[in-house]
Amino acid sequence: MDTKILISVEQLYRYYGHGHTLAVDSISFELAQGEVLGFLGPNGAGKSTTMQMITGNLAPSSGRVRINGIDLLDEPKRAKAEIGYLPEQPPVYQDLTVDEYLDYCARLHRVSKGQRSQALSNAKDRCGLGDVGRRLIGNLSKGFQQRVGIAQAILHSPPVVVLDEPTVGLDPNQIREIRTLIRELGESHGIILSTHILPEVQATCSRVQIIHRGKLVFAETMQQLEQRLSSHALLLETHAALKSSELEQLAGVTRVESLGSNRARLLFKDDNPADAVAACVVSQGWGLVELSLDRQTLEQVFVDLTCSDAPAPSGVAV
């Protein structure tokens, strides 16, 4: 399918101070319609700076940003109309009610008068703000303020939604709701999401980028990542002590590492031999406690790429 490129960023640089600190170093990427791009990186890596540049809050030192084919620097007004942005701190006015605030946002984004109330109730429904429309934003909890911020970003149904750490300060239920919302939005829009929370990326994103010291050090689709992460090892735990020799004879199992008397790590090739392992455990009467895939996590990838002092080369093997 021919997908539309919603954001294209070319060779983006950003210096702070008097050209001494390089916050963003030659970042280029693209975002297509229907993608959710996860932006990862340690604190101060340049995530927020990059997002601020994409949304026109900061001017890049050099480079090019095109939103839906419109150059952000040449035609900022037209380009900005295509974006919804939630900054790190939700830009909400504490003195306004949720309805007043969202109405103002709709006006700022030139939502026509006839569509405004429809857009408002849509955004409120999607972010679970139905009951708090008439309350002052300042009196709402952090989680609700965050939701108002998200509502503000999707209010004018922009093709591109940029969310900077959208689930900060939310409770687990709300986080799940917001993740669902992001996935829903991701079907029709293009979304860039920055976060520290790695499971969030795995749960919501279709592509991952890791940025470290202003450089893009990792960029892969979720499928590629899954493949890379999909492990060839099973973790087994039983009640009774298990014998490695029995397990090693199973088809597909190449090696058994003992992790104590009743725990073992089974390395395998090709197909997952979990059913055979289970059958073996049952027939031997060891009593199955746990049998799971030993996954390499995104966290390990993240740590490998960002913990070394020397910047890792891109596409480094994990």
């Binding site: 702070y16 001017a59 900005k80 003195d95 103002y104 946002c105 006006r107 503000q152």
Partner: protein
């Protein structure tokens, strides 16, 4: 779009008690001034009646009242303008405007217009007092109109200067103090010129007050109106430049 921002700004002002307090206090003080001025006029009236071309009620009551009101507003204006940009920057709400499809010019003009509308509202309430004199006497409509127009221009200048100062800092109080400082300086800058033999033309031109005075005499000169418009334009352009600069330097 400018109007949307302006109306929001105006409504925001009324959400805090500050605007109401300022309106009430100012109304009280100006009413007192108005009454004392009226008393003076009553005292002088019998003597003035005999003199040909003597100053009328407009000269004795309205003009000084408007001039004092101008100075009082100078002291109060910084309290209104200080929050315009510094609050937005401190609360990180400026990014809402920056990421919306509006230009920096529209943002600054909207903010300026919002504050100016508030000042004009304030002015309308205060002008009701001299206008009430129409119940008992007639006023020199030209002088009154000149004075009101002059005061409106003075207030717009206050707004422009305040908006610029507010764009400089994240601290509303710092913005207020520096606005106050600049306004007072511009108000008294002609003093150095008049105290000596040789009048400094430049300083006299720069003064906010000298131009206002000719309006109070009922004189409408394009030079005076031009001064205010130039001043307003200068500070608004400076504000736009300043905010653009912030996008570049972060």
């Amino acid at each position: 779009m400018i109007l949307t921002i302006a109306l929001r700004e105006l409504k925001n002002l009324f959400l805090s008690p500050l605007a109401w307090a300022i309106m009430a206090v100012l109304q009280l003080i100006v009413a007192y001034l108005f009454l004392t001025q009226l008393d003076t006029f009553m005292l002088l009236e019998p003597r003035l009646a005999g003199i040909e071309g003597a100053p009328g009620v407009t000269d004795i009551v309205v003009a000084p009242l408007l001039q004092t009101t101008g100075f009082l507003l100078l002291l109060i204006a910084p309290a209104i303008t200080m929050r315009v940009f510094s609050d937005e920057r401190r609360n990180r709400t400026l990014s809402l405007l920056l990421s919306a499809p509006v230009s920096m010019t529209e943002i600054v003009l909207g903010k300026f217009l919002g504050v100016t509308l508030f000042f004009l509202l304030l002015l309308a309430m205060l002008v009701a007092m001299p206008l009430s004199l129409y119940a008992g006497t007639t006023l020199d409509a030209g002088k009154l109109a000149g004075g009101i127009l002059g005061l409106a221009l003075v207030l717009s200048s206050f707004a422009a200067i305040g908006v610029f100062m507010s764009s400089l800092t994240e601290q509303p109080v710092v913005a207020a103090i520096s606005t106050l400082g600049l306004l007072i300086l511009l108000w008294i800058i002609d003093w150095s010129g008049t105290s000596q033999e040789h009048v400094s033309v430049l300083f006299q031109y720069l003064s906010l007050k000298t131009h206002f005075e000719s309006f109070l005499k009922g004189l409408f000169s394009t030079a005076d109106a031009g001064y205010y418009l130039l001043l307003i334009a200068t500070f608004l352009i400076l504000s736009i430049r300043r905010l653009d600069q912030q996008r570049l330097t972060g």
